[in-house]
């Protein structure tokens, strides 16, 4: 069967500007595969990003894109999704963007269970600003901004936060395994509700600790080890494994999925009048509105 949209269809004219070897290539690739698998019409997909190396991603796709300001991608995406719930809105960006400056929006969006997919290219460093500590940088890591004793803050545990905040699809992928990643992304896009994919995506230029090798030695597929994504409590315990409890084994895969909860869109009363983008403007019943003021 010939596909309506080939992988190539989703590529833009622009060649990615990332450093050779950057983990973000794999994320782009995985996303393209997921879009191809789902056969989404490129004009009905909106990719929203913040600012960072990773946040350049929308330019490399042939979908619609919004390359917003640093840390606000999720909020911009929420606005777009609420205004036009028929779009497939996907948020992409970095760990600094999403777990650092954007942390508040990230958590509030999850508790809304909006039908968004958020892929965080987590390289545990600030890439575009040339190598400062990020909220996921490991304790002790020396960077341009922590040159003396290294990082002295506990890293963010995005999986645990997402579970605490009410995300209904929570996964972790690794740029070393595009196949698993595109599978997790595709299921995330399909999922009815907020899906987070924490994508471990090495920065080959500024993070000499959390390299491909570092991850290859440590990752394992939690689903293959029998984790049940329907079990929220088990998901929490898995979330704590890394980086909270230890540094040796890093679970990848689907931590949690719950399809039974209503999304924000399901509950929003305004949609009774249809998709806001396609509604006729103007007011039909001015009298009814104005009578209140008499």
């Amino acid at each position: 069967m010939k596909l309506a949209f080939e992988l190539e269809t989703y590529k833009s004219e622009i060649k990615p500007t990332w450093c050779p070897g950057c983990g973000d290539y794999a994320v782009l690739n995985a996303l393209q595969h997921a879009l191809t698998e789902l056969q989404l019409e490129p004009w009905n997909v909106l990719i929203v990003s913040g600012i960072g190396c990773s946040s350049n991603l929308p330019h490399f796709l042939s979908t619609y894109g919004f390359h917003a300001i640093h840390g606000r991608a999720v909020a911009v995406a929420e606005g777009a999704e609420l205004a036009n719930p028929d779009l497939h809105v996907i948020v992409t960006g970095g760990d600094g963007d999403g777990y650092g400056i954007g942390l508040g929006h990230f958590i509030h969006a999850m508790r809304r269970n909006l039908d968004l997919t958020y892929i965080v290219m987590n390289n545990e460093i600030y890439g575009l600003t040339t190598g400062q500590a990020s909220p996921t940088s490991e304790m002790g890591m020396k960077t341009k901004s922590t040159p003396i004793v290294g990082v002295i803050e506990n890293p963010i545990d995005p999986i645990a936060l997402a579970l605490s905040a009410g995300a209904t699809y929570v996964a972790r992928a690794f740029s070393g395994d595009v196949k698993q990643m595109s599978e997790l992304v595709a299921r995330g896009i399909e999922h009815h509700g907020f899906s987070l994919i924490d994508a471990l995506s090495p920065c080959v230029t500024y993070n000499k600790i959390n390299t491909y090798d570092f991850f290859r030695k440590r990752v394992y597929d939690l689903n293959k080890e029998g984790h049940d994504p329907g079990d929220l409590k088990a998901a929490f315990l898995k979330a704590l494994e890394w980086p909270v409890m230890q540094r040796d084994r890093i679970p990848l895969g689907l931590f949690y999925r719950n399809d039974k909860l209503p999304t924000y869109e399901d509950l929003e009363p305004a949609y009774k009048k249809g998709n806001p983008v396609t509604q006729r403007l103007g007011v039909e019943d001015a009298d009814e509105i104005l009578n209140e003021f008499l």
Binding site: L82, A270, F293
Partner: protein, 584 residues
């Protein structure tokens, strides 16, 4: 001297129900055919403190909440202490005689003292005495000779069919109060003519919300903040039925960024806040300027700086609005002068935002935003102009140029969902098709040129925008000795002062007023200013922010100024006094 108008003031502590009592009374006045204007003085606390509301009602149009109350209701001792000396001859002071004592030395001669056991009377109706204020209200109604039918109608309106017993209790309570007045001298015999042709009564904030609804707003994001919160409240209650997605979000950063996302998809999108919240929107509104995303931002000013005086009025956020966002980007600033303009200019803002694909600010303030005023029936049939949109349904030939260079600076928009127009909007500097200049091209000779052209394209919009913004308006006699310069809510008291000095002192004063502040109508303003004699700038802030803008744009420096920054709105009287000082 009978005043022919109502100036009703009720005061108590927060939690005493002062403002809802006053609102009911204002509604009764409007239903009786009067022009109404209210002002509420309250504080940033939920219980306690000293709050009062004044309702002015007149068969003639009114321009401020007035000064001396001819009926004052004191729900507590502090109200008596603070206000008892203000009631003029012929007026009345109603108070709860079990709680409150007047100081006869302070009450003016000829003002009637009317102590009523309000709570006890109320308790004859409900044991908890909850209708206490209504007893006082009934007294006022009787003092002003108002028609009791309006009382009943107003209560029905407020509690509706759902709580007939509450309506009935309140009507009875009001009648009790009226009866007491009867026993104690009857009405004040002001002889106010009531037409009983009901007028529309609303706050500036409600008018903003209505204007937005009329213009087809479909997304509204807000974080509560005094004095902008009632926009959210009204929208949340009424918007969804009209298809408007209304969201209270986690903070003002989210509100503005969501509005940008919504605007990007093609809906008419809006935020509302006060200065502190707007401060948090500063980065994101620049993002809208750069991505050429239309949206409307309502900024209802309050007393600053910082948390400042949250429940007081000021016009101190103009510099903030003018400077919001790093770098230069085209913005429009509208400044409604009155309730009607809150409706009209908000509706207009949506058109301008979409025509010029850039954020339009609507700046009002607490005095205008929260005060109730009667207005003519707003016309919901506002024109809706959506600006340039790429051939809908068609497919772009070649790559779509979202930011195509045009003479007007405006390029046809496409919305996500339109097949063949895919592009990425970016806050980095970009080319006509949206591709970045900043990432690998910045600094190369041809892209230095590209940047220049794109920046000029964006900024060029200001020329068209200026033409479409309402120009300055000279109001009053053409050959005046003094011209007042002001903006926003000062309109009412300024006009009142002009009429007053004309009537009393025979002075000719007019006023030059600015329903739009940016882009500034410099030429037009200068043309007008060349014809006027002397000028007095009136602003509710310390540094004269508008006067600075005027001078920056025209070089013109007002001859005199009257700056007020104590949180209280201007009164016609004090402006008149300042006029006299200046022309003396």
């Amino acid at each position: 001297m009978s005043p022919h108008e109502i100036v009703f003031r009720v005061g108590g502590a927060a939690g005493d129900g002062v403002s809802s009592t006053a609102e009911s009374f204002a509604k009764m006045c409007a239903r009786s055919g009067l022009h109404v204007w209210t002002y509420s003085s309250y504080q940033s606390v939920i219980r306690g403190g000293h709050v009062w509301t004044q309702v002015r009602g007149s068969p003639e149009p009114v321009l401020s909440h007035g000064t001396e109350p001819n009926v004052l209701v004191c729900l507590n001792q502090q109200t008596m202490d603070v206000h008892q000396g203000e009631v003029p001859e012929g007026g009345a002071v109603v108070y709860d005689s079990d709680l409150v004592k007047p100081d006869p030395a302070k009450v003016r001669k000829g003002a009637r003292l009317l102590g009523l056991p309000l709570r006890k009377l109320a308790q004859t109706i409900t044991p908890n005495g909850i209708v206490r204020n209504t007893v006082a209200l009934g007294a006022a109604v009787r003092l002003y000779d108002m028609d009791f039918a309006q009382v009943e109608a107003a209560f029905k309106d407020i509690w509706g069919d759902k709580k007939p017993e509450v309506v009935e209790q309140n009507v009875r309570a009001a009648k009790l109060g009226a009866g007491e007045v009867e026993k104690a001298g009857g009405s004040l015999r002001f002889g106010i003519p009531f037409s009983h042709e009901p007028r529309y009564l609303m706050t500036g904030n409600e008018a903003v919300a209505l204007g937005a609804l009329a213009a087809g707003v479909r997304f509204h994001a807000q974080y509560p903040m005094t004095p902008a919160s009632s926009i959210l409240h009204w929208m949340a209650a009424h918007g969804p039925a009209h298809g408007v997605v209304v969201k209270q979000v986690e903070d003002e950063l989210a509100a503005m960024n969501m509005a940008v996302g919504a605007g990007h998809t093609g809906v008419r999108s809006m935020v509302a806040t006060s200065g502190g919240g707007f401060s948090l929107m500063v980065e994101a509104i620049g993002q809208a300027g750069m991505t050429e995303t239309p949206l409307v931002a309502v900024l209802v000013q309050r007393g600053g700086p910082s948390t400042g005086l949250p429940t007081k009025t000021e016009q101190g956020d103009l510099n903030l609005a003018l400077g919001a966002g790093q770098g230069d980007w085209p913005r429009g600033i509208l400044a409604p002068r009155n309730t009607k303009e809150c409706f009209d200019l908000t509706a207009k803002a949506f058109n301008l935002a979409e025509i010029y694909q850039t954020p339009i600010l609507v700046m009002s303030d607490l005095y205008l935003g929260e005060g109730f005023r009667t207005v003519d029936r707003p016309d919901f049939n506002v024109p809706i102009v959506r600006g340039m949109v790429a051939a809908d349904g068609g497919v772009a030939a070649g790559r779509y140029q979202r930011y195509a260079y045009t003479d007007s600076g405006v390029s046809p928009r496409a919305f996500p969902g339109m097949k063949g127009y895919q592009y990425t909007a970016a806050t980095d500097e970009h080319m006509e098709n949206g591709d970045l200049i900043s990432d690998v091209l910045a600094g190369l000779p041809e892209f230095v040129e590209e940047r220049r052209k794109m920046h000029e394209k964006r900024m060029r919009k200001l020329e068209g925008l200026r033409k479409d913004m309402p120009p300055p308006e000279l109001w009053g006699s053409p050959n005046a000795d003094l011209t007042l310069l002001h903006w926003g809510s000062t309109w009412g008291p300024a006009h009142e002062a002009i009429l007053q000095v004309e009537e009393k002192q025979g002075l000719h004063v007019n006023s030059l007023e600015f329903p739009s502040l940016f882009p500034f109508h410099a030429e037009e303003t200068l043309r007008i200013l060349k014809e006027v004699k002397r000028t007095l700038a009136i602003e509710a802030n310390y540094t004269g922010q508008f006067s600075r803008l005027l001078r920056a744009e025209t070089g013109y420096k007002p001859d005199f100024s009257f700056l007020k920054y104590d949180g209280e709105p201007f009164t016609g009287r004090e402006i008149a006094e300042r006029i006299l000082e200046v022309v003396a």
